[in-house]
Symmetry: C2
Subunit: 238 residues, 2 copies
DNA sequence: TGTTAGTATGGACGCTCGTCCATTTTATGC
DNA sequence: GCATAAAATGGACGAGCGTCCATACTAACA
């Protein structure tokens, strides 16, 4: 069974399967749903929310007008499903990056940051989509949940790693260690967010290497024993 | 003469005066323009871009339908003018905060951060507006310029202050000092951006004191001689 | 192979959008 | 106080929106 994404449409099928399974009929249905989701995301990325219309989506999907209503109940629900899908892609990439990492806290944190800044995740397409949803987040409650990179999953992953580093420092009281870990988590995630905004507004001059270096610097300042700046070498080109 | 904001409407009057001056006729005109701008911002903050329509704006402004076209040439140009106005308010607040500060680099940087995090600037209304514009930034070129907190003005202000701190450190080569100042500027601005995103997505649990403290911590790590964590006391409540 | 039920189609619908302009109002300067 | 031009008004307009549904298709199963 594949991962599921939520839809608010038919209560009987509140979840739409993202993986393509079942007999031919089910496969075609799921394929069309995915096509619609991807078309919607392309639309948002290229044209923005304001210009993303049902006509635009179905034209890109090459499917018929009625399918949005049929499969998602309406345009808004399709957009919500698309948001969940985009969020899923973010975490899918993170998980693949975490696979090659042993249980070492520094490596986990580094993998999170590297994944967040990697070209596969941090690119024009995704940044456009993310900020488009966030622009509507406050007025479209369902969107908040997935427009947050730092949702509880990610936060907990990073927080746990920092906790483990902090308690290794015998000079700190347990409570001090907890406080340090909290601040490190907050700062790291804020920096990651800030980098995305930088990418949105200064795409042409954005430098992944520099971005990674700044975050490493912050970590090195809080945990001098565990991080050094030499790690700040990009995984791939630009 | 007051500050001016740009409009793309009539080439003969490419700028719309924000200050209220001149005879009665001019004052009324400027007042109505400002009313429209404020109504548009309220709309965006409360309803989002998607629901911000001409009808909604003029209803809130209590003015007639045709005024948007008359004064701004169309809805989009009004929104652009509104964006410039919002940006102006940000810098106006910053300037008042800088007035009481002498030429000390640390104090300047602290004033920038405190202003950015102050309730007068970082609040639901403004965050909604800022992210609404950013959501359209990529597809609405005119918007990029003012949706950027870190526009050249702010960047230069912070950068110059850090430069002055860095060159005071005699242990650093001039080039190292420059690099340090650049990283400090980048990191500080990214953290500020990250805090705004945190506010957007976690308004209820957002803590200005904690946010300020993290930024101070980053600064203290890069300039241990000039920043300490005790400065992290909020100017007001919340 | 025939029946059925799940899926797909695309046009019609009512509605709201932003624009524009003929008309009215009103401050200004002679 | 009158003539003038600037500013304000609000309804009409066509275009485009999202929704919905009568109809057509087709995979599944007996």
């Amino acid at each position: 069974m594949g991962l599921l994404i939520q839809s608010n449409f038919d209560p009987k099928e509140q979840q739409i399967n993202i993986s393509i399974t079942g007999n031919k009929r089910q496969r075609l249905k799921q394929q069309n749903q995915l096509t619609l989701i991807k078309a919607a995301l392309d639309c948002i990325a290229e044209l923005g929310v304001r210009q993303t219309s049902v006509s635009e989506i179905i034209q890109r999907a090459g499917l018929s007008r009625g399918m949005i209503h049929l499969h998602f109940g309406g345009k808004d629900q399709l957009l919500i499903a698309a948001g969940h899908y985009a969020s899923k892609l973010y975490y899918d990439h993170l998980e693949t990056q975490l696979l090659g990492v042993n249980d070492c806290p520094q490596k986990i944190i580094e993998a999170v940051v590297r994944s967040d800044l990697s070209p596969a995740v941090l690119n024009q397409h995704n940044v456009n989509i993310w900020y488009a949803f966030r622009g509507e987040a406050r007025h479209f409650k369902d969107i908040v949940s997935f427009s947050d990179t730092r949702d509880p999953r990610l936060r907990k992953l990073v927080s746990n790693a920092y906790q483990r580093l902090a308690i290794q420092n015998e000079a700190l009281q347990p409570e001090q260690a907890r406080a340090l870990a909290k601040e490190a988590t907050y700062g790291t995630l804020c920096l990651m967010e800030g980098m995305w905004t930088d990418y949105l507004l200064h795409t042409d001059s954005f430098d992944r290497h520099k971005a990674l270096r700044i975050i490493m610097r912050f970590q090195a300042a809080l945990f001098p024993a565990y991080f050094n700046l030499d790690g700040a070498i990009p995984t791939k080109d630009q």
